[in-house]
Subunit: 301 residues, 2 copies
Amino acid sequence: MIFLSEAESAALITEEIAYDAVRRAFIAAAAEQSALFPAVPCHGSQPHNRFTIKSAAAEDVAGVKIGSYWPDNTDVPKHNSVILLLDQTVGRIGAVIEAGTVNAYRTAAADAVAADALARPEAATLTIFGSGHQSLYECLALARVREIDTIHVVARSHGPAFVQELADHGLSGRLTSAEEAVKAADIIVTATTARAPLFAATWVRPGTHVASMGSDAKGKQELPPALLTTADLFCDWPAQSTAIGEFQHATADRQVTAIGEVLTGKARGRQSPHAITVFDSSGIALQDLYVGMALLDLASD
Amino acid sequence: MIFLSEAESAALITEEIAYDAVRRAFIAAAAEQSALFPAVPCHGSQPHNRFTIKSAAAEDVAGVKIGSYWPDNTDVPKHNSVILLLDQTVGRIGAVIEAGTVNAYRTAAADAVAADALARPEAATLTIFGSGHQSLYECLALARVREIDTIHVVARSHGPAFVQELADHGLSGRLTSAEEAVKAADIIVTATTARAPLFAATWVRPGTHVASMGSDAKGKQELPPALLTTADLFCDWPAQSTAIGEFQHATADRQVTAIGEVLTGKARGRQSPHAITVFDSSGIALQDLYVGMALLDLASD
């Protein structure tokens, strides 16, 4: 069994590796022979400590991702992640990869892949809701796929520190009200734990691309429902997104398109410069498995 | 992260360790604060290669077990197993234990713990259906809890080799027809992949204890349904046993008692020397997690 520690995987991962792997994962997810198995929400001995098991198989990979959230952690990350890849020649677990930092890259990469496919080419103003751990990764990943000149930050706390963090990475951020930020945005990313809409649908300009990253459980909600009635809806995995993702709040009559169908040309993405596109990322194990394979390739070089 | 390889875990495991750990697991499974999360049936890139993810949490442990079955394996075992224990102080995977051989011990231990609680004290004649990989472990585990003087072996193939294997381990086995074997038995263990009853209910003597080990998926069946209408029914986890275990074939009105309730004295086990008791083992992750903890303790000694 090959083992990559948290330090090893964190040293190997880059935005480019994550982008390429997640893109392959989304394409694989849309393939007929792929299977995404049901996610299992679990908890530790103390029920407020939570972990989720996701698993999948595609033409060239099969395995499991375990993501945990220990809210009381203070000196160590609250989120942790492990990727398990099956050695498919014999059915044993062939690789175990600690992937806490990797997970932040792979989650941001999902929004970057989708934005690259769906946002207008000239999109330059990014609005980010949330200044938590994930938000910086989101901004860096999106800045790789569009020439972002301004980032509006809507933060309940740590706003100034987050803007400084962006500056440290060469990105120009400013703290803005939700209304001003949404009205100015070409791309909106929500990376929060919200359970109610973060802004009004009427504030969103035609042509905007919206990515909801935070909604990953029943009851979570980041976007105004009115937006979901008019925008074109895309996601990583429709069955999961409509069950526990942001599209649990979309009406059943709305078409929800897997982004992999867009990437392969089977489905249309952005229909016009004026369309509003929404991408919901609820997270699928194939992302982790393809990233894990890429890391193994690098580690064996 | 602590890693125990297949060779390391196989060198540490004994029937006694498995028995004690599985007994604790069954007691924990009956405790209010324990949680057994839904099992997920998965497959590899080739759908006939299968793996199952089971997970659980109890007062002092939480984690995941992945068991795989690669039917085309010839030079290496078709069954493999990995136990993942969460480090509950921080939520990371604290230990990964390859547990192919361990799994055979823990599965046999389940039947031994149940037989120890439910079989008559003087039970001495064991009948085993099946001469596959698991059958030897079953016989050895049961011989630890009752003074078994005769083992009737009902085998479709490899019968003589299996009887020789028993002899190599100091056990006296003989090949018998299903009818003769059942009629002579104090304890019957079915360790097969059957999809239809292996014997007639009328052959089973009063006072017999029956353990169904093989039924772990919809459509599998080892016992005659008539037996399930009159015998007292016990299992590791009623919700799973009635869904995918042998008791999928029991009528909904039958009481199915968790063996943990018997072990803690909350429920009655054998009601009389004449009662027929049936134990169905569909396998729960707590077995693996407690065995895993015991192995870690040993490994750190």
